[in-house]
Homo-oligomer: 340 residues x 2
DNA sequence: CATGGCAACTAAAACGATCTAGTACGGTGA
DNA sequence: TCACCGTACTAGATCGTTTTAGTTGCCATG
């Protein structure tokens, strides 16, 4: 409970016998002070354990030292998908060598998300944001560029010229890798159980799947809400038909595990009678039995790359261009096999 | 890219024909303006879509409008445990009706964590923090109270008088619930696979288990690093003995799933030959086969309660007292049964 | 020797709020 | 009538920085 008065650049200035302006120059590596004075000032700052006041800095319009992440999912289901935690961990890793912080906020709708960006930006609370789950003609990106906020998108293809740069994962190629593998295994009836259609990657993956139709493959996409219950329902329905699919692909691993449980409850052998695969990997996918064949997308690295891109975007006046993130690899485990 | 100038209380003052001081009074519900003027000012503020500058507010020493959470785990393993995501989701839910933000930061050590708290506090970046994974004589709590920072602890028992309030889960009782149930099922050899000993809950749970010794129960605690690999190793070792345990309890569900896989690879029937249980629940625990008996601790609600406590702690000058959080319930699923 | 230019500084405004001290005005009581 | 009080305000200091516009003193140049 010691008052523990803040040490400010005024204190440093007094001790060094110079003006606060000089101290500011010295601390920010700006010309305007001699090397000798700079060294002296830095030494004093270090001795006093001076910490910049981010509030004051944000007030004068320089850096807030914070980036923002808004997540548009119901709070209760956040923990379900490994994607977010991995992404957040990656972001943190991207920030680890800096003193930049991360603001996290859950929102319930796109409008709320935009309002949040407005608040963050106009209150100078964050220097930039990472936007996830891009949509077509995304109103968030329009709002962000209109208010002049820095942003980096995490998405499935490069962004249009002039808009916020994207770190993208070649989702089309990834989908090809997985579906082509199943076809090569001899599967002729493939179902894809996915999340809501407003997510870009959903339609993209479904598109790749349906390109197989002309080759005589029976394909089908079932839309759910990402929940394990809906995934189980859909699986049960598919497997109750007279003409069952021989392979089912899930959008994430929680749904895949739910599907796996249904096969066991129905006594359908995996992978002998049915192959299962997921577009998302996690520790669990390797631990269930049979372990699940997955596309391993390094979400961690994705977050790290996006963060570094955002940090340089914040420092640079002109908009950067998109980069491609880590390429997903196919991790074949026990849940897939040749079609019977 | 429109400049989109900030609207400040000065703008409001000009339009309302009063001083900025009056506007500040009006906006903060303070006496000093007539009701009529207050209404006019509020209306104008609303029309202009005024947002307070948190930077300016933080600078004058009132609220930063942000709370902080530091997580001391390696980034790559963050996603493994559902605990964090659930806690974070709960915190978010506790903040949802406010405009308070959350700062998240991963740290690599206790010292780094303390340094972070120092920085946050002296830079006025956060109004308070939520401290997790309390230890005995926790240096973090000493540091926090010494610098006069507000904090709330999430832990397993009420905190000492005068220190930061704790939202605690009665871990001892929870452990009793689980272990006593196993004993009632007839289990005589019970093993507990847990994480590092510096976590308070680890020793607490192990303590409860070993209280069974006098009753003729064979108990054993094996310490790991929370990883699925170590958990699998430990399980394999236990099950390779001539005198196997008849029940194994894991500290979290990822370890439990890893253990379950080992039983399957070794051809040991669960629950006929061996019962498995976990101290932590998640969606996955209910989806694997056999589904896992777990202590269901509402981590979400825990985070929510802690957040609300912190928010009122921030507003109140005197330290609040600890509250007990949601009581864990035993969720019996398929992985436990009577000892053979 | 006057002039200009440069380096190394200083002084002070600015950012957007909060908060304290002060003022103007109307009403009340003696 | 005068002192006094309360209400509704205003003016201006304050927080800790950054940044702009000077101000020195020194040196080189014509």
């Amino acid at each position: 409970m010691t008052p523990d008065k803040r040490v400010t650049i005024t204190d440093i200035a007094r001790l060094a016998g110079v003006s606060v302006g000089a101290v500011s120059f010295a601390l920010n590596d700006r010309p305007g002070v001699s090397d000798e004075t700079r060294k002296r000032i830095l030494a004093i700052a270090h001795d006093l354990q001076w910490q910049p006041s981010s509030a004051a800095r944000a007030l004068v319009g320089s850096r807030a030292g914070v980036i923002g992440l808004a997540v548009n999912r119901p709070a209760r289901t956040l923990g379900t998908e490994a994607f977010f935690t991995d992404l957040i961990a990656g972001i943190q890793s991207g920030l680890s060598s800096t003193h930049v912080g991360m603001h996290l906020r859950l929102v319930a709708s796109i409008d709320e998300e935009i309002a949040l960006y407005r608040r963050w930006h106009s209150a100078h609370q964050v220097d930039g944001v990472i936007v996830i789950d891009p949509r077509e003609d995304d109103p968030r990106l329009q709002a962000l560029s209109q208010m002049g906020a820095k942003a980096v998108v995490v998405g499935s293809h490069p962004s249009a010229e002039g808009s916020a740069p994207t770190v993208w994962i070649d989702d089309a190629q990834a989908a090809h890798t997985l579906f082509d593998y199943l076809v090569a295994l001899g599967h002729q009836r493939i179902a894809y159980i996915t999340g809501p259609a407003e997510f870009e990657h959903t339609t993209l993956r479904a598109g790749v799947l349906h390109q197989l139709d002309p080759r005589g493959i029976h394909t089908e996409t079932i839309i759910t809400d990402f929940s394990s219950e809906r995934a189980a329902d859909a699986t049960r329905r598919l497997l109750s038909r007279s003409e069952r699919p021989t392979a089912i692909v899930y959008d994430n691993d929680v749904m895949a595990v739910a599907g796996l449980r249904v096969t066991q409850e129905m006594g359908i052998g995996v992978p002998e009678a049915l192959s299962l695969a997921s577009f998302d990997d996690s520790v669990i996918a390797g631990l269930v039995r049979p372990s699940l064949t997955c596309l391993t997308r390094d979400t961690f690295e994705l977050g790290e790359t996006a963060t570094k891109l955002l940090l340089t975007q914040i420092d640079s006046p002109e908009p950067l261009s998109s980069t491609s993130g880590p390429t997903p690899r196919l991790t074949v485990r026990e849940s897939t096999g040749a079609a019977r």
